[in-house]
């Protein structure tokens, strides 16, 4: 769900580009059905996907490392 930054309306980011838009859907915006404001749809961004995937991998790796350290600390005791 996207919350419109202008009017607060919540809606599914269904692409519904006006036919006259020259970008023809090649943007990351979804127009609010209530007020027409162009809200950014971050889920369409390759950069955002990359960063969130990488950050998930990094956070997994960090948590694995922390648990290994913890396990080895307990074993050493």
């Amino acid at each position: 769900m996207i919350r419109c930054a202008l009017c607060g309306f919540e809606y599914e980011p269904v692409p519904s580009c006006p036919a006259s838009c020259p970008l023809n859907g090649a943007c990351h915006f979804v127009c609010c059905p209530r007020c027409g404001y162009q809200n950014i749809d971050a889920s369409q961004s390759a950069a955002v996907k990359l960063v969130t995937e990488k950050s998930a991998v990094i956070s997994n790796a960090v948590s694995n490392l922390v648990s290994r350290i913890e396990i080895s600390r307990i074993r050493s005791k």
Partner: protein, 658 residues
Amino acid sequence: MSCHASAETNETLSPGDGEIILVGNPNVGKSVLFGWLTGKYVTVANYPGTTVEVARGIAQRDSQRVVVDTPGVNSLQPFSDDERVTRDVLLNGTPWVVVQVADAKNLRRALLITSQLADMQVPLVLVLNMMDEAAARQIDVDAEKLSARLGVRVLATAATKHQGLDALMDALKTPQCIQPRVRFDDDIERALNALEEKLRGVCTRPRAVALNFLNGEATYDAFVRARVDAETYAQFCRTREQLQERAMTPLSTRMQNARTRWIDETMRAVYTTQAASAAPETLAHKLGRWAVHPVWGIPILLGVLFAVYEFVGVFGAGVLVGFVENVIFGAYINPFVTHVVRTLIPFSLAQDFLVGPYGILTVALTYGFAIILPIVTTFFLAFGILEDSGYLPRLAVMAHRLFRAMGLNGKAVLPMVLGLGCDTMATMTTRTLETKKDRVLVTLLLALGVPCSAQLGVVLGMLAGMDWAATLVWLGVVAGVLLAVGWLAARVIPGDTSEFVLELPPMRVPQLSHILIKTLARLEWYLKEVLPLFILGTAMLFVLDATGALAWIQHAAEPLIVNWLGLPVQATNAFLVGFLRRDYGAAGFFQMAQAGLLTREQIIVALVTITLFVPCIANFFVMVKERGAKTALAITAFIVPFAFFVGGVLNFVLRSLG
């Protein structure tokens, strides 16, 4: 019960006859209900003559009737193909029952369609869906009271959890028409009755058709013309004109006001939010209230603008651009790339194309990454904070006061505010304005003096390098031009100035992760859109330079650029690429200012002129699509000389003031 206005009709059987029609706003759970009613066996086909898909299935549970899932719409007065198809399904057919699916959380939006269904007098069942989500937000909709008020069955459901759906099959057997309908003023009601009487034999929804005809809706005009003789049609048009002439307020506004009253009264009777009434006022609520206060709102607005100016202009355009351009690109990337290109590529023309004075790598990419990127990054961060905090709609309210002072039609405010995000998109929203004059004038104002977010960022960045007086001169001239053109527009377009209605969401603390993600997505979009244009512009300059045409253009433009605007002749290049995007032109001036080629007065003149240019090539194409090639060319033919005219006058004023 049947409440079709007339069983006699000249129409052939069309979609909607004897069927169960589902209608409602987008994302209200219509498809879930459709799936529940029909099971798996569904056909999806384009509605005749359109590319809009309409799903049909057989009701498995009881009646074996055909169920039609219409596209989600916001109104039955159509602006889009989806809305036109839904309107046609209802207007042309004689459905067994219409099921309106409403999002209980957003009841006001649904009631607009309900009021239009009341005009159509279709047999109706109203499904108040998402009641669980409404309850979670402490929203209470009294379904029984709503049912008593409208005179139709109202069911409270949570379709995704299959709650409340069992009563639906029973309700479908006893559909009723809504009573009371929207009551318009006596003058309109008299005209409506007269038209309705004449339309009764030729269509199934005479009141709805008569209403929309009086409202000036173009497709209903065609609908009526196709069904009555020429003399009756002329009489209908006369009735409409006379109705309009008898009152100062536009007819459509009077009708909309009556509809809004009907919706407001219904909302007051059945809709309550516990959160709003019971909770003590928090600091966020107070801030939200102060932000739109006629007095306290102004220092808050100035404070916000100052903070944005400092962050984008001083930090983004000063510190960040200085570091990226001079250190990263100036000391490392550009020397390295130049060395590699000159070593590997033996042809001097190809070398110049990549790393020369108009090189793709040393100019287009340096402009894009070293100048524009740091500025728009800081601007998008600031913009994200404004959006996430809930201040943006308050800014719209404050802007509305300014536009109202200009006397501009209230409906024109939203496109102008949207223009601060993207002029191209905002131009498309002008189609919601009522008259052609409104649409053309707001399109003109948008293209003339409303800089989009990216352009505003670059302009702010340049202004931050100077003193406050320079910023005030730029702001004063651009606002003055907008006010003057807006004032003139308001004289041409009379209208109600109090129609701007915007629900204000609460103020809240912005989430850093949310802002960072939005900024990243915006930057990706921005680079994808502008870099090809930057490359195209630079390649264009390279070709002009290589063929000697650039020197000729600069020489020919000297009277305008040097004598009239008082700028160095190299400024011609910035104006040339400014036709592709205003911010690319502004970036050219930015670099000239950094190189010491522009004085303080010249920077102000250059910025004012480029701000008043046509925003970008995409905006031009949208103007062509929305307003037609002739109007788009006329607007451009006005704006470009006008921008140079204002810039020249400013040059003379600044010079004469010393």
